[in-house]
């Protein structure tokens, strides 16, 4: 992907045509159109690690070089999460995971990194990304505690499920055009534990966060007056999507439950046939055979249930959490708009401090436009990713089910075959 690199610093007051209203179209064209300006990767401009309410940067420059997730050739960063280990200290016991990164990106000092991270560190990263990009969609993290089912944090299955989810989380971040170039992300992947701890402390102060929260709450209370139609539609979609995906999650969990109960009963069938075979002479062999077949089918059923639990349910669950993320993103966008509307009103009514207020208003307007555009393009992106994820999850499930039935089919066909061979052997039938 080539293009002229232009150092483009746009002042915040400049609401010129350089700010496209819908960036998504541009993103798609970037591949083909060499004339299109590619904004610099000046990290001071795009550093999302410091929350700056008065955004000096233009919306467009926030969205720096894109790597298209669909284009595998351009994937230049590979992240894996594995090797959970438990750590015991005087105060607590916790699990850390190994995070390995392989990359060719020039902003990384090396091409390979290996660090250990705990769940808290992932939470921190997610928080930072959300703070820096309130209207971008961050993939959800696995929940803190599992509500249903497993209780122990240190249960093997729980740890494995969490590990997989953390792996997916990091990969989704790495695939995201904006998040993957976040400084926090880079530090997360590369810093030694001590470095990370000190970097965490550097974040915006508690007070400044408090200030923003208060502002946000105030904005929420005010409510938004003129929400653009497309965001209302988005909200309606998210509501419906949330319901549907929750239902699917529940249905799938129910299926797993029923399958497990079926399995419990089926496990008793084989031994009963085996018991019967002990009283019989001629029938002993076919009965033992049937017992064996039933037992093999049991094993296949067990595996199928495990697959459903390990593959489909986590994905559905993540998208349930996604729906919540989307709702939060829409709320934050609304708040930004409410803030802008409030400032507009204030300017109209108040007489004092008009210059500062106009300044504030301009910044609020910028912020709003930036937020809206960011959301719109990320929304399109998210929908594509969602579609891919869910499609492949369901295709995968269907394939596994086919494979399950094929295996059971083979078991019973072999039984039939053996009975036929027996009959031939006994000279009762000539199959030629």
């Amino acid at each position: 992907m080539s293009g002229s690199v232009v150092d483009n610093t746009v002042s915040s007051g400049n609401s010129s045509a350089a700010i496209p209203t819908d960036i998504s179209g541009q993103i798609l064209d970037l591949d083909e159109d060499d004339d299109l300006e590619v904004f610099s990767k000046d990290t001071t401009l795009t550093d999302g690690s410091s929350f700056n309410a008065s955004m000096q940067t233009s919306p467009a420059s926030m969205i720096n070089q894109y790597k298209f997730e669909e284009d595998a050739d351009t994937k230049d960063i590979f992240v894996t999460v594995d090797n959970p280990e438990s750590h015991v200290t005087a105060i607590e016991t916790y699990i850390t995971y190994r995070v390995m990164t392989k990359t060719t990106r020039s902003e990384f000092d090396s091409s390979e990194f290996e660090v250990r991270r705990r769940y808290q560190d992932f939470l921190w990263l997610k928080g930072r990304l959300e703070e820096a990009h309130p209207t971008l969609i961050v993939h959800p993290l696995p929940e803190k505690f599992v509500v249903k089912g497993m209780v122990e944090r240190f249960n093997e299955d729980f740890i494995e499920t969490r590990r997989r989810a953390l792996h997916r989380f990091l990969n989704k971040i790495a695939e995201h055009p904006i998040f993957s170039s976040s400084e926090d992300f880079k530090i997360f992947l590369t810093a030694a534990s001590g470095e990370l701890t000190s970097h965490k402390k550097q974040g915006p102060g508690f007070l400044s966060r408090m200030g923003d929260t208060v502002k946000a709450v105030a904005a929420a209370v005010r409510g938004v007056r003129n929400r653009p139609q497309e965001f209302t539609e988005m909200q309606e979609y998210v509501e419906a999507f949330s319901q549907k995906i929750s239902s699917l999650d529940k249905v799938t969990q129910r299926i797993v439950r029923e399958q497990k109960e079926y399995l419990e009963e089926l496990k008793e069938c084989g031994p009963t046939y085996a018991l019967w075979s002990q009283s019989e002479e001629e029938l002993a062999e076919p009965l033992k055979n049937v017992a064996g077949c039933v037992d093999r089918c049991c094993k296949e059923t067990e595996e199928q249930v495990k697959n459903l639990s390990d593959q489909l349910i986590p994905v559905l669950h993540e998208y349930v959490l996604c729906a919540d993320t989307l709702k939060a993103v829409l709320r934050r966008r609304d708040n930004i708009q409410a803030d802008f509307e409030a400032k507009t009103e204030a300017l109209a009514t108040k007489k004092a401090d008009r210059d500062t207020m106009r300044d504030d208003l301009d910044k609020a307007e910028d912020r709003l436009e930036w937020a809206n555009n960011a959301l719109k393009s990320d929304w399109t992106r998210w929908q594509k990713v969602m579609r891919t994820d869910l499609r492949s999850a369901f295709v995968d499930t269907a394939e596994r089910n086919v494979s399950y039935y094929e295996k059971c089919l083979a078991v019973w066909e072999s039984f039939l075959h053996s009975q036929r061979t027996d009959a031939e052997g006994n000279g009762k039938v000539d199959f030629s």
């Binding site: 995906i245 299926i255 079926y262 009283s279 869910l390 295709v395 269907a398 059971c408 019973w412």
Partner: protein
């Protein structure tokens, strides 16, 4: 319900193999537990299809009872009736239509109207009770269950439920065919008139006095007594009957519970159908794929009904042998009774002989009250002794006759019963083996349906 003619095919053990097509679902309704059916799929090898009730007759004919050589028997229909019962109360009951048709007519191509008559389940019971007392040395085929047992939640335990009635109709037909194919039972006159005489059969069977015999038989079978020298084979058979009954009961219970669970698994998938459909309404590009996938999920959920219905036939086959085990035990019990009566007679004879000896020689070897009293109160007169001796002699003679008779009975019983038990063993091995094969075929069919549905669903999902 019309009687359907199904394609005739071979038995694993006798005739050559023939290919047939897949049976349409409605035909399966006439399958009796005696017959086995399965669908032909894309089996690489030869698949064998087992016969229906028509071919069942053919099979029986192979076995050569003269009754079946000349007539076709079937229980074609079931109907509800209401009437006044013995205590003058309104009751609803079901009657079954027994149809008989001469064999030649069918093969000649003409199709005359069959002879037919209606019978209730209680009349079948009377017939069977009659056969039980008349042929205690035979393993008499069982009736289908009086009340639905081993039900799982969707199955009704109600005797009036149409599915139960249908399965009972099939079971009753099976019973008649079993009796008709038995070398001895098929020649019974009462059985013949059961099939052919609508009116007056009840009176005829009552006149045989079987009811009284049935009651005393029941009492005897339930009595406890100890046999000194039971025939080892019968003791083993009785033990086998116990084991068979226990293991088949267990299997039926486990199977019913598993069926219940499987039903749940399939039906929950129906919810996928509903949710996919609702979800497709809010999606643009994914909508079509989701919608069609949803339809396949509905089809998957619906498919379990047929699957479990077929499995009920398998359960019915097992149930028949569950009840057969009871009949087998009854024969063994009867042997014990006969043996016991022989032993009692022999014991009695021995004691009488001993008494005679004592009387003749004047020695008292056995303690008897008479002996003691005579010791205490003086010996008897020679005339008294003479009279006693004479009486004993007569008794001994009678006793020897009795022992000879009972011995003969015992030997007869053992001989004929063992022949029938051997016949039963062969039948059981054959039938149950085929039942297992049909079970395997059902599982295969279920797997094939599953493969098809999920492949279809996969295609739809990939269009999402």
């Amino acid at each position: 319900m019309s009687r359907t003619r199904e394609v005739t095919l071979c038995s694993l053990y006798s005739l050559p193999v023939v290919f047939v097509g897949i049976k349409p679902p409605e035909l399966k309704k006439t399958i009796s537990p005696f017959a086995l059916n399965f669908q032909l799929g894309n089996f690489a090898d030869i698949c064998i299809e087992y016969c229906d009730s028509v071919d069942q007759n053919l099979q029986m004919v192979e076995k050569g009872t003269s009754l079946l050589k000349k007539m076709e028997i079937s229980v074609a229909e079931a109907e509800k009736r209401t009437g006044k019962n013995a205590v003058n109360m309104q009751e609803t009951y079901t009657v079954y239509l027994i149809e008989t048709r001469p064999v030649d007519a069918a093969s000649e191509g003409t199709n005359p109207v069959p002879d037919s008559l209606w019978r209730r389940y209680s009349e079948f019971e009377q017939l069977r009770n009659y056969l039980l007392v008349t042929y205690p040395f035979l393993v008499v085929p069982p009736l289908p269950e009086k009340r639905a047992e081993f039900v799982w939640h969707k199955l009704s335990a109600d005797n009036m439920d149409p599915d139960f009635v249908e399965r009972r109709r099939v079971g009753l037909e099976n019973f008649l065919l079993r009796v008709a194919s038995h070398p001895d039972l098929s020649t019974d006159k009462i059985f013949y008139s059961f099939l052919t005489e609508e009116n007056g059969w009840k009176e005829t069977v009552f006149e045989t006095g079987f009811q009284a015999k049935a009651d005393s038989r029941l009492k005897a079978l339930n009595a406890t007594f100890r046999v000194k020298n039971p025939d080892k084979r019968f003791a083993e058979m009785k033990h086998y009957g116990d084991e068979l009954q226990s293991v088949i009961s267990q299997l039926l219970r486990v199977r019913a519970r598993a069926a219940d669970r499987l039903y749940g698994v399939y039906k929950v998938h129906g919810n996928y159908g509903r949710v996919f459909s609702e979800w497709s309404a809010i999606e643009k590009e994914m909508g079509d794929g989701l919608q069609s996938a949803g339809h396949h999920m509905d089809a998957y959920a619906a498919s379990v009904d047929d699957i479990l219905e077929e499995e009920e036939h398998y359960a019915d086959q097992l149930k028949e042998y569950l009840f057969y085990a009871d009949a087998l035990r009854a024969v063994c019990r009867k042997h014990e009774l006969t043996q016991y009566e022989l032993e009692m007679a022999a014991q009695d004879l021995t004691s009488k002989k001993q008494q005679r000896e004592e009387l003749a020689t004047g020695t008292i070897r056995t303690f008897s009250l008479k002996g003691m009293t005579s010791k205490l109160f003086g010996q008897e007169t020679p005339e008294q002794r003479e009279a006693k001796l004479k009486m004993l002699e007569t008794q001994i003679e009678e006793g020897e006759e009795l022992v000879k008779e009972r011995n003969g009975e015992c030997e007869e019983f053992v001989k004929s019963a063992w022949v029938d038990i051997e016949r039963f063993k062969e039948q059981k091995d054959h039938d149950l083996r085929e039942a297992l094969i049909s079970y395997a075929i059902m599982q295969i069919s279920m797997c094939k349906k599953g493969i098809q549905v999920w492949n279809n669903a996969k295609e739809c999902f990939s269009k999402m």
